[in-house]
Symmetry: C2
Subunit: 379 residues, 2 copies
């Protein structure tokens, strides 16, 4: 017998009350019953986003939410600046290209955060309709200083929209769409929201809503204006993913009970304790500059095949972590600690990692990692 | 205490083993575990579709699947012929217009099926890249003769693709994409597949796959070629709706146990018994020509506010049926009997309808409807 533990940077574990809410008999969505639930959900999403205007729910994975931003806010032939510091930065570029949006790329070395001076230089150089960026680049564990990026844009190119993929950031650490002057913020259900994948969420600023009127890219299923009209009436334009929405209502209420401040503190503690455990084993954290508290990205020690670490942790310990993606596939591994994760989960992950690395031939004192994690958790 | 009964034309009731499968702890999708489940799912979908090639799964509602057909198969400025016999026919036109596809409309009076001679005349008149149609028009209960439509296209305009919305048809009555020479067939999870909404499925013919290479409409999240490459390897390009996929595996196995022939016979019996019950109460079936076995559409009796019927059946009897949509909103009501529905459910629906109509002032002998339903079920 071996218990399973999901410690990937998404999907994340789903709390039992959320699983149970999704397992209730189905009911029809064109009813006052659904409208009443959806009104609560909309309030909860505004609370989570720290905003006073509509957060649009979409029945898709997070990539659909990213596409909605591009197809609703930009036009064919317009120029967008993409901050590419990993796989999800690249995804912004791919979506832009699919829609005929011209992309200029500000390349950030994977594991690093965007340099605001470099960004300002790019913005002065060319006139961009939008900057597309990740709050947290899930493939590297890097956090970009979104507030600083927004200030830079306001200073040197105030007509440029700031479009933020916050899929592994929102509900993990503080992101303030309205206070920081962001224009579009996307998230997905299978991260901090503690749900299975299948829902995406998009908030737009008033400026961004105005921009949707000018966009000439086609959109139908992901047309945010069509959805906004319906969602203001507590219904959806297309059939909603009813069971996931019922889980969402419960997940939001669990988050509201914990409170945003506590949620952010918990994730910070999980991040610190994981990092300290890793370093105590003599391993190197891959992420330089700002570390996103959603995951810990670790360099694979020399002499070890990077893919063996997640594989062995899964097969021998029942612990699911993630390897690297793309070019980083055998160079790093990533331990997720966002959503329904607590200190005990970090201890389990660190214990499995210790066991695995020792068996793969790494040299460090047995229990040094878990002891460091425990000290950090108790600090 | 009043039990709830969902008898809408979607969403439909979800069997307990499917609910339980969706309520299991989440696991990661980039694993051999998911790949193994997805291999079974892909086999099951090919069985359901009666095809020997890929059925693509999408994390979206059925409308997303419809959009995928338009954006992958057609190009800006190309002409498409839309058969519009109700709200979902109109949806094809709306999606085409959103993508700059020029639509010509063959209007079919709501409640009627397309006349093949009229269709041939249209096809001879103009050169169309595709014909877009519903197998079953959910807003009216009409079935179009898709095999006949396909033969007409092959005869007079063989280069025209036939794109079929079979969202309330597939798994209800016989639709044979390969044998009938169809080019694209869409369905969704919340109908015959007995799942919550949140998944769409698209099958394409070899000709249609070739057409995707020529399409100049943008697509990314709904890019079928990107998905096909991944799904051939038993994974998905974007994050799949994992819990719904796990429910899908169980739902498909339940359907396979019943067998397609029995599934079709069951739906035919439910359709006949509902219709005979309705007629025995002196009401008129709205659908003329071919009746789709997924639902029974009924004309609201004179002197009654059409919206009162579903409302009162819901509030007094716990039975969810659907009203009319758009212009038909107070003229018809629709009893769904597709998916996880049996004869007992029809008896419950008819009983609630009798009670409701009598209380609203209709004149017929008490129990005449349920007696007719029972006789039909026992026939």
């Amino acid at each position: 017998m071996k218990k399973n533990h999901l410690l990937a940077p998404g999907p994340t574990p789903v709390p039992q009350p959320v699983l149970e809410a999704m397992a209730k008999p189905l009911f029809h969505h064109r009813t006052s019953e659904f409208e009443s639930h959806f009104a609560d959900i909309r309030d909860g999403l505004e609370w989570l986003y720290q905003v006073n205007s509509d957060v649009i729910s979409l029945a898709s994975s997070g990539t659909g939410g990213m596409e909605a931003c591009v197809s609703n806010l930009l036009s064919v032939g317009e120029k967008a600046l993409v901050v590419e510091g990993g796989k999800f930065g690249e995804r912004w570029s791919e979506i832009c290209r699919a829609y005929g949006v011209i992309t200029d790329v500000l390349t950030v070395t994977p594991g690093h955060s965007v340099n605001i001076t470099d960004l300002e230089a790019k913005l002065i150089e060319g006139k961009f309709s939008a900057v597309l960026i990740q709050a947290s680049e899930t493939s590297t564990g890097s956090k970009h200083d979104i507030e600083g990026v927004s200030q830079a844009i306001k200073k040197v190119s105030p007509d440029t929209l700031l479009v933020v993929d916050a899929i592994t950031a929102l509900g993990v650490y503080d992101v303030q769409p309205e206070n920081w002057g962001l224009d579009a913020v996307v998230t997905g259900s299978q991260k901090a929201l503690m749900l299975p994948p299948g829902l995406a969420f998009v908030w737009l600023s008033e400026n961004a809503w105005k921009r949707t009127e000018k966009s000439n890219c086609p959109s139908y299923y992901f047309n945010l204006e069509i959805e906004r009209k319906s969602q203001k009436k507590n219904t959806t334009a297309w059939t909603p993913a009813i069971s996931l929405m019922m889980g969402l209502k419960v997940a939001l209420s669990i988050m509201q009970e914990e409170g945003l401040e506590n949620i952010y503190k918990r994730h910070a503690k999980l991040s610190t304790s994981t990092r300290e455990a890793i370093e105590s084993m003599g391993l190197n954290i891959f992420t330089k500059d700002l570390i996103a508290e959603c995951l810990t990205a670790v360099e694979v020690p020399q002499g070890i095949n990077g893919k063996d670490i997640p594989k062995k942790m899964q097969s021998d310990c029942g612990v699911t972590i993630a390897g690297g993606q793309g070019e980083l596939s055998d160079k790093i591994f990533r331990i997720g600690h966002l959503g329904y994760v607590d200190g005990d989960d970090v201890l389990v992950a660190v214990s499995a990692l210790e066991k695995t690395l020792l068996e793969l031939g790494c040299k460090f004192e047995k229990s040094v990692g878990i002891a460091a994690a425990q000290r950090s958790l108790l600090a």
